[in-house]
Symmetry: C2
Amino acid sequence: VLIDFASNAEIYSFEQPVTHLYEIVSGAVRTCKVLDDGRRYIGAFYLRGDIFGYEGGTRHTLSSEAICASTIRKIRLKSLAASASRGPDAGLDALTLAADEMRRAQIQSSFVVKTATERVATFLLHMSRHSAGQTPVQLPMSRQDIADYLGLTIETVSRVFTQFEESGLILRASLRHIVIRDRKALDCMNASA
Amino acid sequence: VLIDFASNAEIYSFEQPVTHLYEIVSGAVRTCKVLDDGRRYIGAFYLRGDIFGYEGGTRHTLSSEAICASTIRKIRLKSLAASASRGPDAGLDALTLAADEMRRAQIQSSFVVKTATERVATFLLHMSRHSAGQTPVQLPMSRQDIADYLGLTIETVSRVFTQFEESGLILRASLRHIVIRDRKALDCMNASA
DNA sequence: CGACGCCTTGATAAATGTCAAACGTCGTGG
DNA sequence: CCACGACGTTTGACATTTATCAAGGCGTCG
């Protein structure tokens, strides 16, 4: 049950009933929703190995879209229930999924009290952690995606990147590749929360 | 296992191991954390009937404090595990708790893309819903609590309240009691997200 | 080579924060 | 019961942060 999605293709839509879980085999995904006035809210980014589609309810509250060409494994919820009945360790655990989603939401919650530079620092550190400390850190998403996720504008994100580079905290190897040169300084900004 | 807490008393502290769940018999509680530079982050408010203390990990990431004089029922986690083994419907369900916490975190996450007035509108509607539509809506927490929860300053919160009252959306019966006069208008601000 | 999309940079505007003072309310003590 | 004082809230003037609008650069792909 592997499916390929092109960049920006929709995987499931807002308000649809929840019938599957999705595991990212390769690529990256965002969950999002466009508001009445054109603003866009991004709930989270999911990278290789992540499982998404669980939101605690019976209908999706956000849509999900491929950030770049991606391969997704679809997992029927019914088959999950079956494997769960075979034993506690057979397959995915709903509680683990819920706990993961909770952590994602809490990370984003912490942005409400943070400044623009703190939000970007937090974001970079999380992306770095997820790519297992590899350098450079790859950012599959556009600046617009990052901005919407952090609750900022692309201009502000861009300016913070520039400021970090001028301060020697990071190096922009390319638009989508960033090297972290002073993790301690970034951690420090993040540490406040 | 009922315990009384005075206003502002700490119920459990940040970084302590998670040993209990807590149910609010009467009163109100906030989960919070003071950052290095004095800013305070409030994760959520809990009112009568709510259960708090579950954060998905083995140690608390936030402290919890009574907002006003409160009576709390302490529930040992071990006793929970015992009752769960007796059957799926016996007692509290970890998945339900996790899903509730997820929703709380998602509500707060939605603030990152919202303006000050939208955040206050959302907050008032949630408080109203929780008090079962009673009028006036009671706000057990201080303006400072509200501001820290919404990621604003007390002055901004105060000004939005004033603006809502001048527009006829609400009526400030007293400092801690608010009557919602135009729920539709508030819903509309909130609806964007 | 040219056109398009995305990102960066700059100038200005709007929203929110900061600082300071006045106001109200509530509890306390005379 | 009234006066006073402390604290939390509101209001006002001003500063800062971030958004908006507009232009320019840069890489990509036809």
